[in-house]
């Protein structure tokens, strides 16, 4: 009886998240896997999965062959990978001192500071990216001042919008809170006595950081890196708005395949590759994170 109840409890608690994963993750991935092996429809979309003439399953590896024969797409993946990596590193460099500052400020101020970090989430994502379009646009005070300044030392004026630089700025801006929050959650738990002990035993500020604070914060670093890198890898809105033709990422191509070119099988192939990459990276982060003792 008790065992039965116990099992019931397990299902009541574990069931809903499991159902959620099945419906919103496993099922779409499965649909995508199947779609990647189908033929494109005559007017876009997908052709019927059972051939109209023979009535048999009508599958092909044509789209995969196309992906692996044209280096252009691999190149795009590598470029997106580089964008996401640079974004992750910059986010880490900005977020670490910020998270440390919050974690070490008086307890009563911490909640307010965390609130400030997540404040941007209160307005629409696209509006915030469009705001950067204005800030980086040629008419903005910031860009005009910059161009005036470099004009004084005899340099040609630059345009910032529609460049890889603008894409990186947008990516860093949007993803920064996802790096700050896990880092803060980790750093806040550190026992201050450990730093006292390190100092007492002869470690200066530099060594206290690299020998105690940083190694202990690695789980937070991995979590933040995964939360920034994976979404940044597949994003399309930011390169769409800020990147122009030069700043295109793999997310843009996938979007094009589905909405413009309407080649769903090929779009599915690109999505598959992206998903596999994301899972591999998340798995790696979890693996490295687990090997760290906390």
């Amino acid at each position: 009886m008790a065992a039965k109840l116990n099992r019931l409890h397990k299902w009541l608690i574990g069931g809903p998240p499991l159902a959620y994963l099945l419906v919103f993750f496993a099922a779409p991935v499965l649909i995508m896997v199947v779609a990647s092996f189908r033929f494109p429809g005559e007017f876009g979309g997908l052709s019927p999965i059972f051939s109209e003439e023979t009535g048999k399953l009508d599958l092909t590896t044509e789209s995969y062959e196309r992906f692996f024969s044209d280096f252009l797409y691999t190149e795009l993946f590598l470029k997106s990978f580089a964008y996401a990596a640079v974004t992750t590193v910059i986010c880490l460099l900005i977020a670490y001192p910020l998270a440390m500052l919050i974690a070490r400020s008086p307890r009563k101020h911490r909640d307010l500071l965390v609130l400030l970090v997540i404040l941007p989430f209160w307005s629409n994502f696209l509006i915030r990216v469009y705001a950067w379009m204005i800030i980086l646009g040629p008419q903005s005070v910031f860009v005009r001042a910059l161009n005036y300044g470099i004009g004084l030392v005899g340099l040609e004026p630059v345009s910032l919008l529609y460049t890889p630089f603008a894409v990186i700025v947008g990516l860093v801006y949007v993803h920064l809170p996802f790096m700050v929050l896990p880092l803060y959650a980790n750093l806040e738990k550190h026992d201050p006595a450990l730093l006292d002990a390190a100092q007492d035993l002869g470690a200066n500020a530099w060594r206290r950081f690299w020998r105690v604070t940083f190694p202990l914060s690695l789980p937070g670093v991995y979590a933040g890196a995964a939360l920034v890198f994976i979404p940044a890898l597949g994003i399309f809105a930011i390169p769409d708005i800020l990147g122009g033709t030069e700043g295109i990422m793999i997310g843009n191509v996938i979007k094009q395949q589905f909405l413009d070119t309407r080649d769903w099988p090929f779009g599915s192939v690109l999505s598959m590759v992206l998903t596999v990459m994301a899972i591999a990276i998340a798995g790696l982060a979890a693996f490295v994170g687990r090997r760290q003792r906390t």
Binding site: A197, L201, G202, N204, Q292
Partner: protein
């Protein structure tokens, strides 16, 4: 010259004076204890010696060198923290090697010295473990080994036994005494546990409200507390209200309120009429049905109010005629008998004149 000289040190936090004009001299090789209730300033004083906090007034001199402005990492003083503060991401070996690495000791020597340190604290073979895999007593030993490995001039210990259970405490105390004797490093030990302080120390400074009340050897602190606070804080003590009568030689008459005149030891020849308390340890109070009469002996009749059977001893609370209560401690050593008196029994209590001494307010 003392190894550690604390001169007129004061530390305030806002309106609160945590350490108030404290002066202490601690000799090289000494096991010195700062004892007091929580909030008495002992930990603040320890943090100032370690360098985590700075005095508002006064100065701290170690081995002839003024420590003002020298940060903790540059002081040759190490601390064993109450929580041990072992680095959780490092093995036992790495923890113990940490101070050597910070001092840029040659890597070829570190392994050997860590091995020796592990041996000293009986943890040979545990070097590869992580702190989370150790018991409380083992963690404590790692913390001590880590703090001692590069032979500091001074080892500060902040309630290092507070987290251990009572049984373990005794063996760890013996270990600490042995270790201190063996390596000869000066220990400054902070605790609120008076029995710990009495068992471990060469000398004890009893602190209260930021001030040092008394500095003495354990037997002096226990036997001759200088004031009411020390008498009350260290061990159990009868504090009987009264005032001084006539003094003569090594004896003084004390008029106990509502009880009558008793004879006490005259130490400082105080003026008659001074009010205060007669301090009397319960184990020096004799209890019996019929006590002999003598000039050296104060004797009163009373009735057993209650008793506490504690296994090795029984504490009797005896109410005298005037309503004053006296605790008497009797060892349960008589064969075949577990206790001698019941509540309500008529008894006599008494003590030798030199068992009690007067503390004026």
């Amino acid at each position: 010259m003392a190894l550690l000289e604390i001169s007129n040190v004061t530390r305030r936090f806002g309106d609160f004076t945590a350490v108030n004009d404290v002066s202490l001299n601690i000799e090289a090789g000494e096991f010195f204890t700062l004892l007091g209730p929580s909030g008495c300033g002992k930990t603040t004083l320890l943090r100032m010696i370690a360098g985590f906090d700075a005095p508002d007034a006064g100065r701290i001199v170690v081995d002839g060198k003024d420590m003002t402005g020298i940060p903790p990492e540059a002081r040759n003083i190490h601390t064993v923290f109450q929580s041990y503060a072992l680095f959780p991401h490092m093995t036992v070996e790495q923890n113990i090697a940490f101070p050597l690495k910070m001092a840029n000791v040659d890597a070829s020597q570190i392994g050997k010295r860590v091995e020796e340190a592990l041996e000293d604290v009986r943890l040979t073979g545990m070097g590869r473990r992580y702190p989370s895999e150790l018991s409380g007593g083992q963690k404590q030993r790692v913390a001590v080994a880590r703090a001692l490995i590069n032979r500091p001039k001074l080892l500060l210990l902040d309630e290092p036994l507070a987290a251990l259970d009572a049984k373990l405490k005794e063996s760890v105390q013996l270990e600490l005494i042995g270790l201190q004797k063996e390596i000869g490093v000066t220990f400054v030990y902070v605790t609120h546990d008076q029995s710990e302080a009495l068992a471990l120390s060469h000398r004890i400074a009893v602190m209260n409200l930021g001030r040092v009340e008394q500095v003495d050897e354990p037997s002096k602190i226990y036997g001759f507390p200088r004031n009411r606070f020390v008498a009350d804080f260290i061990g159990q003590c009868n504090l009987l209200e009264g005032e001084i009568g006539a003094c003569e030689g090594d004896r003084m008459a004390v008029n106990l309120t509502g009880v009558g005149e008793v004879t006490a030891l005259n130490v400082e020849s105080d003026d008659p009429g001074l009010k205060g308390v007669l301090a009397l340890r319960p184990e020096k109070v004799v209890i019996g049905r019929d006590l002999p009469e003598s000039a050296d002996f104060n004797r009163f009749s009373g009735k057993v109010h209650d008793f506490l059977y504690l296994g090795d001893v029984t504490v009797y609370i005896v109410e005298l005629a005037g309503g004053m209560r006296i605790e008497a401690l009797l060892p349960n050593s008589a064969a075949g008998r577990t206790k001698f008196f019941e509540a309500g029994d008529q008894v006599q209590v008494g003590w030798r004149y030199d068992a009690g001494h007067f503390l004026n307010d």
